[in-house]
């Protein structure tokens, strides 16, 4: 990584963990096709299944329920399109990979903190007698808000509806127990926990019918054909193992995030930090800067050497108005002026202090001259 840069954008992607890098280097260069019958094929199969077990341990799921995909987007697409439901219910704060994969879905509103309104969810499910598929994210990428997955599953189960959850942001940051969650499906991704990009998984409970998006050699029990991304899976597995063995890591990151919010509030008492008093990821902070558009802030921070984001970036790099914050209906300024700070295992207090100073510098520069 560029030494001059301070990376505070872990929700976008994370640096590769050193342990993962070492594991990948060890596996590089091998002819890795788990479908091959010969000894090297068996060796590849062994590595693939080990990775599956490592991930299974982190999320408490039977390993065989994990289907490797190219990432969270593919997992979400497979879940939403593979079930072939006519009625799909999502929340209004889902990631684009869910919203675009279910364009006709009914959207459930969120409250001013970004939490799905459960009464509305129940009414909608009851209206169609439970003959539907529900997809609600575990934790939001922009605000870090954690959805009440347990209650959501309970409501859906009452009417016999199945639930999928995009757990890409939640993975590794809060405890996830797939077995106990009652979810039918769950999407996860490696590069948000220190693994490589290009690998993710859809976790599918027993008995769930799923039409594959990719057909061919019948890999992943026929649910996702194509030679497995062994290197990706090895990286994913190792990252999951490191996370599972370091429960203190999240505690430290949360303390750092809280310290940042305290320091910023001390310097700028009227600062608006979204969803501050509801359950949210310990690494995420969504902050409104009065008078400065989010895109201008992101540029300003970048020029200070700080990497952070505003909402979800389009592939062209432009910043869009946040549909997540807009759905919270807390006014115009939060929807246009919110940036996201997302910390990780390498974040330090020195970086936090620099962030606070830069925040104040950008705020004062833009608001002084009007």
């Amino acid at each position: 990584m560029d030494n001059a840069s301070i990376y505070l954008d872990y929700n976008a992607t994370t640096p590769l963990r050193a342990e993962v890098k070492a594991e990948l280097l060890d596996a590089l260069g091998e002819p890795n096709n788990p479908s091959s019958i010969h000894s090297l094929g068996r060796s590849a199969r062994r590595r693939l299944e080990k990775s599956r077990r490592q991930i299974a341990t982190l999320i408490n799921s039977p390993p065989e329920n994990i289907i490797f995909t190219s990432g969270g987007t593919e997992a979400n697409n497979l879940a939403l399109k593979g079930g072939q439901y006519t009625d799909i219910i999502v929340s209004s704060v889902e990631h684009e990979a869910v919203l675009a994969a279910a364009v006709n879905a009914k959207k459930i509103s969120v409250d001013k903190n970004g939490i799905v309104i459960l009464s509305e969810l129940e009414n909608v499910i009851a209206d169609i007698n439970g003959d539907c598929f529900v997809s609600i994210m575990w934790a939001n990428n922009e605000t870090g808000v954690i959805q009440p997955i347990k209650e959501i599953v309970e409501i859906a189960s009452k009417y016999g509806a199945r639930v999928h959850s995009d757990a890409v942001q939640a993975l590794g940051k809060i405890p996830i127990n797939f077995r106990e969650s009652g979810l039918s499906m769950m999407s996860i991704s490696a590069h948000k926990i220190g693994g490589p990009t290009g690998i993710g998984a859809l976790v599918v409970a027993d008995g769930v019918e799923l039409k594959p998006a990719l057909v061919g050699g019948g890999q992943e029990k026929g649910r996702r054909s194509g030679t497995e991304n062994i290197l990706g899976a090895i990286g994913f597995g190792k990252a999951a193992e490191v996370v599972a063995q370091n429960p203190a890591e999240n505690k430290r990151v949360k303390n750092l995030r809280d310290l940042f919010e305290t320091k910023l509030s001390r310097c700028f008492p009227k600062v608006n930090i979204l969803s501050r008093n509801v359950p949210r990821l310990g690494n995420t902070s969504a902050i409104v800067m009065p008078g400065v558009l989010a895109e201008t802030q992101v540029m300003g921070f970048d020029l200070e050497g700080i990497c952070l984001s505003a909402g979800a970036a389009c592939s062209s790099g432009k910043v869009k108005r946040s549909h997540v914050v807009e759905a919270m209906k807390i006014g115009d300024e939060p929807a246009t002026n919110t940036i996201r700070v997302s910390l990780g295992w390498d974040s330090t207090e020195i970086e936090i202090d620099f962030l606070v100073n830069s925040w104040l510098k950008i705020y004062n520069r833009a608001n002084k001259k009007i």
Binding site: T296, M299, L303, S316, G317, K318, K369
Partner: protein, 396 residues
Amino acid sequence: MSTYVPCIMDSRIDLGFEGPPSKTRVVVAMSGGVDSSVTAALAAEAGYDVIGITLQLYDHGETLRKKGACCAGVDIHDARNVADQIGIPHYVLDYESLFRNAVIDDFADSYLRGETPIPCVRCNQTVKFQDLLKTAKDLGADALCTGHYVKRIVGDQGTELHCGEDPIKDQSYFLFATTREQLDYLRFPLGHLSKDETRAHAARLKLNVAEKADSQDICFVPGGRYSDVVKRLRPGAIDPGKIIHIDGSILGDHDGIINFTIGQRKGLGIGGRVAAEAIGGSPPLYVLELDPAQKTVIVGPKSALARDTVIVNQINWIGPDTPLTASIDVLVKLRSTQEPVHGTLDRGDNDEGRIILQQKQFGISSGQAAVFYSAEDKSRVLGGGWIVGTELTHKM
């Protein structure tokens, strides 16, 4: 390809700041074309703290009606590649809704009013020199640079706007609405160059876009079919009507006044007349007037296009401070491709004005700009206004 490469004496540009270039932050508006790419590259070469910004103004996929085309389009990728090549930070800003409100809607409504709009001026006036300029200031930049072929000269009475050195590329007509305050903050490093020199710089700096063709059309009107764009933006607002001769006779039908421009001669769709012209029966016909209320196109002989008075509003004045009551001799350009002509400007209240032309002009269209140049120093832009009407005062 031309083998002519102009001699570039000293390529290090000076943007006129007291501090060293490394301590001077400038934002360059990068469109992805050769001109703005060279602007950014020259500023970077001179050691300035350069930030490249590209504005996404409209959805390329939608505008070009190509399913699956990227929302960004090739120009944004070109700008990004150049920025990467010259080693400057580069950002893309989503100005779609700003551009639609400030430029595209006005463009469509102007045609429906029977005018011939100039969206490039509106874009400079609003999106670039208000919104982007504010962003540049928010980023702590000392200046906003563009690749326009105009010169900014600091005179005794403040900052002046002058024509670009290269008369073929001069873009001063499109920048008449730039205010003094905006001019103070703007820099135009290409104003002293010819297009050949700009291209030579692009080649010397080995920019990826060195061979890229100049853009010809209005950016959101691919292929120049502006009527298609207006039809799509204002469905149902385009009504057919009659083509009427100035003598009162009805010559035929048309499918919407937006398809016509004042002074237009060809493509009127009145075949009988054309045949009559061919045998010398009647003089050629020109569009004289577009009447949105009656939905009529009035045509007649060229002589009926003659005007000697132009009425303008929303005047932007960046010339010497003269009292509003004084008549001023000016050179005036009534469309971008025209040579300036002599006239006398009388400014009234509320930024309105009248220009009495020394010689009659033909085919002056509302919606275009009347841009004033100094009669003494032909290169200096004094300002300009939007044409809202014309008259013929002296019939002789």
